[in-house]
Symmetry: C2
Subunit: 794 residues, 2 copies
Amino acid sequence: MIRASEDNEFYELSSPTLLPKASGFLWNEKMMIHMNCRGYAVAQFMQPEPAKYSYAPNLEAKTFMQPEQPYYAHHPGRFVYVKDEETGEVFSAPYEPVRVPADRYTFAVGKSSIVWKVECGGVLIEMSLSLPKEEAMELWRVKVTNLSQRQRKLSIYPYFTVGYMSWMNQSGEYHEELQAIVCSSITPYQKYQDYAKIKEFSDKTFLLADRKPVAWEVNQEAFEGEGGITGPSALQEEELSKGDARYETPVGVLQYRIRLAPGEEEAYRFIFGPAKNEEQVAQIREDYFIKSNVNGEDGFEAAEREYDQYIREGRGCIEISTPDPDLDQFVNHWLPRQVYYHGQTNRLTTDPQTRNFLQDHMGMSYIKPQVARESFLLALSQQKPDGSMPDGIILHKDAELKYINQVPHTDHCVWLPICLSTYLDESNDYSILEEQVPYADGSGTETVLEHIHKAMKWLAGDRDERGLNYINQGDWCDPMNMVGYKGKGVSGWLTIATAYAFKVWADICEYGGQAEIAKEYRRAAEETNEVINRYLWDGEWYARGITDDNVVFGISTDQEGRIFINPQGWSLLSGAADEEKREKLMRAVREQLETPYGVEKLAPSYTSMREDVGRVTQKHPGSAENGAVYNHAAAFYIYALYSVGEREDAYRLLRKMLPGPTMEDIVQRGQLPVFIPNYYRGAYRQFPRTAGRSSHLFNTGTVPWVYRCLIDGLFGVQGTPEGIAIRPQLPSEWSEAKVRREFRGATLQIEMKREPGVTATEVYANGVYLENGVLSDLKPGTEYKVSVKIPVSE
Amino acid sequence: MIRASEDNEFYELSSPTLLPKASGFLWNEKMMIHMNCRGYAVAQFMQPEPAKYSYAPNLEAKTFMQPEQPYYAHHPGRFVYVKDEETGEVFSAPYEPVRVPADRYTFAVGKSSIVWKVECGGVLIEMSLSLPKEEAMELWRVKVTNLSQRQRKLSIYPYFTVGYMSWMNQSGEYHEELQAIVCSSITPYQKYQDYAKIKEFSDKTFLLADRKPVAWEVNQEAFEGEGGITGPSALQEEELSKGDARYETPVGVLQYRIRLAPGEEEAYRFIFGPAKNEEQVAQIREDYFIKSNVNGEDGFEAAEREYDQYIREGRGCIEISTPDPDLDQFVNHWLPRQVYYHGQTNRLTTDPQTRNFLQDHMGMSYIKPQVARESFLLALSQQKPDGSMPDGIILHKDAELKYINQVPHTDHCVWLPICLSTYLDESNDYSILEEQVPYADGSGTETVLEHIHKAMKWLAGDRDERGLNYINQGDWCDPMNMVGYKGKGVSGWLTIATAYAFKVWADICEYGGQAEIAKEYRRAAEETNEVINRYLWDGEWYARGITDDNVVFGISTDQEGRIFINPQGWSLLSGAADEEKREKLMRAVREQLETPYGVEKLAPSYTSMREDVGRVTQKHPGSAENGAVYNHAAAFYIYALYSVGEREDAYRLLRKMLPGPTMEDIVQRGQLPVFIPNYYRGAYRQFPRTAGRSSHLFNTGTVPWVYRCLIDGLFGVQGTPEGIAIRPQLPSEWSEAKVRREFRGATLQIEMKREPGVTATEVYANGVYLENGVLSDLKPGTEYKVSVKIPVSE
């Protein structure tokens, strides 16, 4: 029912009702489209802010991407209605809107395409979606095959929702000469000052066909009639009415009437997307459907091929083969793709939150280190001379800080050394520390080293008399906005994270030739750890913070929000937790936060407002930051466990990030394992019915940390200044694993195996024993055979 | 098919498909609900800004009321599913979402209730909606009657959409002790500063029943299943699942299982609305369903009665009987109700546009003059000491100028004398001129007389060297925002309107005992009229304005926007147009602007952006301000025609504001004649298919002007300082008319009749001939019999 295809390029689902919200997504340089297995779609493109070309049926709010969005009858989608002209029977592919159960159904989410095969009453509809590399448009193929034993007379109606475009101006009509439906609108605005921007927008939506339709409809109301979207009245006519839409909701429907002998097939291609004007649509038609290149490909075919190539560039730096095939499938095929997506698109915003931007490029360090390098330098160029970082990184000259980026947060600086360290591990490019970078106010330039020193000093200075870091209106947890808005409240987690940042920065400084300064940072980390243990240790775990009114929270006496995951894991990273504390806090996490679907961010979820903590306590229990299995935080914790060698808990929790392996578990999550969502619904102990559900949001800082967990932790193939340290932490149930590691131009073929008689892990490269497991002096272009012998029980 | 009920309290429609968007609306002190004949609903309440308790299925934008809004399958609505338990057959009342054609159907829009009667397969469902006078909630009655000859086993399922409440927090559950479904949410916000406001919101939605249901469903997805909203899977079960919604889209569905003998009926009542908490819902239950008053009424019944009384207070000051029964019906029943609605609700905003606010209370002068008086004083208290008026009037301490009120317009001052004059005509309350009113900046107080002098001086000063009034970023026409944004462009209409305002103000000053000042204003009006004729007369009509670059527009050489209605009519009011010009411009209006659906605001509609005119040219051709039959402007023109005695054109155009009388015309408009919409779609000569369609927006400055057209024009029963002037201008096809006029506490029973031998109109009151038709020295509480003899041909 749910499986990887044989070539591992697709994940397949065999029913549209088993996981009704199952989906895949594609992106390119300009757009993103999230396709649901039943045909619903969410697509946006950048101009430069996110915009739509296929709209909801009403005036939808412009907002950031929301979790757990409901679908509804008139949700934007891409469908094909099929009518048997002899019987009058109608079905639709993929499934919506008619919802006729298919005889056979496949939804295959690929890396560079999404494909459906829907067989109904002897007619097979194959639909596939791909994108070009750089333009905002959808490339669709639709193939109709007669699988029955008799000739078939069919009408097929590709149906692309356009929706309610604008209250200012909306219309649509078919253009004979373009073989296209073009719908027009004006983005609503009221101030003349906005006109200069508006007039550059691609406010048209086009549906371009490679074959001439017999008829069409552009008027949604006329198409549906009293039959509605589930049984449009227009399908009862021999031909669509060739109507237009004049300040009426437009739609793109084409009709093809075909006669198919048994076994015969017909194929169609369509392009759907935004355009500035009809001339541009004409040009697209010319480029994609008319002209051919030297290989005889037309633009459409070439674009599909180029896009596939573009996506393939985003492969990761490890390929694994373990006793856990689902993990292999995800790590080898889907995880690096999701990491790459973040690094390429910056979440389709023009002002990514600083912490997100830095972590997304921490991930990009494994895939395109040059992109990561440039991104770090860009972020630092927006640092203020006092060392503080802005709440968002501006990527476009017209961009502004929006939504949550207008609320001051205090954690952005800690991510600088933490994210940079991965880049350095992977690239060994310590020259970045000497790069000259300006400050935001144009006051001058300094080296990256100085920039980060200033960031660390800012963190060291933004503290109360106890030495705890102020939280202001939020830290990593955005909606924890009332802990410290009066200027006194402090963040336990941020203080711990600062200690860790000092440690990481000390290591970088040392390798960067600044041993003395490194010592200072180590001392500062130790002092911070002492403060942490003095004020935040609650007896069994660490508190989350202390409010403006000096109330410690996230502690055993709290009824809700009693324990938070972040202070626990980060105290392992910072070194605050000694072995006794480590055992205690790990037990508390297992008992109070761990669920079948992963580890919750906090528990119990808040069920009512706590005014001295803030908005997080008003979020729905188990959703988003309020007690969800928030994978970003879970990944931190797993990373921390690996950092102290707690491989069993680490692997168990890592594995819970992926749906499965049981069907029941996958169904409860409601998602194919082609991406890690930002959260699974939590509040497992409070509301078990809904626990585990996927948010279906694939924008998340989780994925670079999961990649780090694999590289630095599970498989232990982390870069060092000398080379690479091979120190795997396989779970006890694995007797072996193979890893192909691409590193600084070399390739390591690593076989890990538990062997009787081995008492401590031994690492050999090309047969030579490696001291401490470190392979140094790697030569680019060379392949190394590495063998790791692991004790049977460790 | 479409008719007034016998008691004239309802307008009835006998099919849900004939006018699919036909609707009625109810309002009270706190809310407004717009109900569609098929069951769809748009409702909002004030807290203090407009808010919802029944939401769209997605995150909808907060916006001002939009015209021609599309309905869609999951549009908010109120329905009753009915299942025959023996046959399994399901239908829904009123019509949506199942869309089974009824055997008999009535949609009856009443003044204080909206009623449906839907008969399907021998089962009659009667639904009615009313409101309480002061609270935001809907009062629903549902009655089920077995009209068939056999016993029936039925399940009925009242279904109230709740929709996507909030991405922060949403849930719903049934409360046994309340016999209510209560859905909870938190209005989304991100800044802690907003919390103080948010926490006071009524963020819950409740559905309270007067009878205990056998089962319920609160989870929309669970209710629909694969059957969708048109055939919910849950209806196939014996009982609903009694589910809840946890961060899932909530819905309110109750199930009642009943056995009805032939002729037997069962009645239910429900209350649906917003609440702050469960305690409030419990209180509502107590007040409406449990407690009874001395008359044995419970709160629900008392509220219906009180609401009916409240609406009846809004009756007009004339009652007519003419050869045009549709006009009678509208004027006697619906027009004053719409005028009253505006005066009571101020369009459900907290910052009505100044011109709207003043005109809405011009209308209120006929209904509740005391409310109008207070409103004029409130508006003047927000005037600046330089005489200029703000773009919106702030009605609530937390209100802000929003949307279009952030764009500077230059016309607000002209409405002061114009609107005040109606109040004075009606009330003769010249004491208002002596009221002391503060200025917005707290710099001091002055009399109303001084305030309006300053407003007139501001208008006289805000002119270019030619004496033409600057338009800045707009005048009455909001989106004409680029004519003068550079500071040079002028408005032809506004200059003309200023001349008219001077004239009106001169009259008021004179009656107010300031004859000298009156002369000055008359001279200023004359001088302005000269300027108008010098710069704006285009040979056959008046231009609309002159741009920043000194380009005259709205003239014969323009391809689009060649002629605008406003400068034409207002030049009749101001006196700029002599008889020759009057004939020319009236011919131009007839030839270029008049259509079967009324007179267009401009023609031809713009089909592309004209950058020196602005946003109006980007609006959809024939929509809103771009060439619609914009009834507000049409009403100005009709009023102007009456002001110069052009009774035939005036009546013809007035009559076109109401749909009908032919069925074809009503269907093309798509609306019952229970309100005048702000526009009918125009661009009749360019896009005839859609011309005439109602915008379905009942917020419009049209209605007070239509009332003035009736009072001052058609029936000629306008107040004067001495009393009342009886000077009817009946159209030639009318041989008689009767008017009952309530005026300053007296009642006039007026019979108008064309009589052979009469050469000039003669007016008699109680048999006594009136010089100039003026009846003076009216005694409150007295009834006058007035007889008007009109020449057969005049």
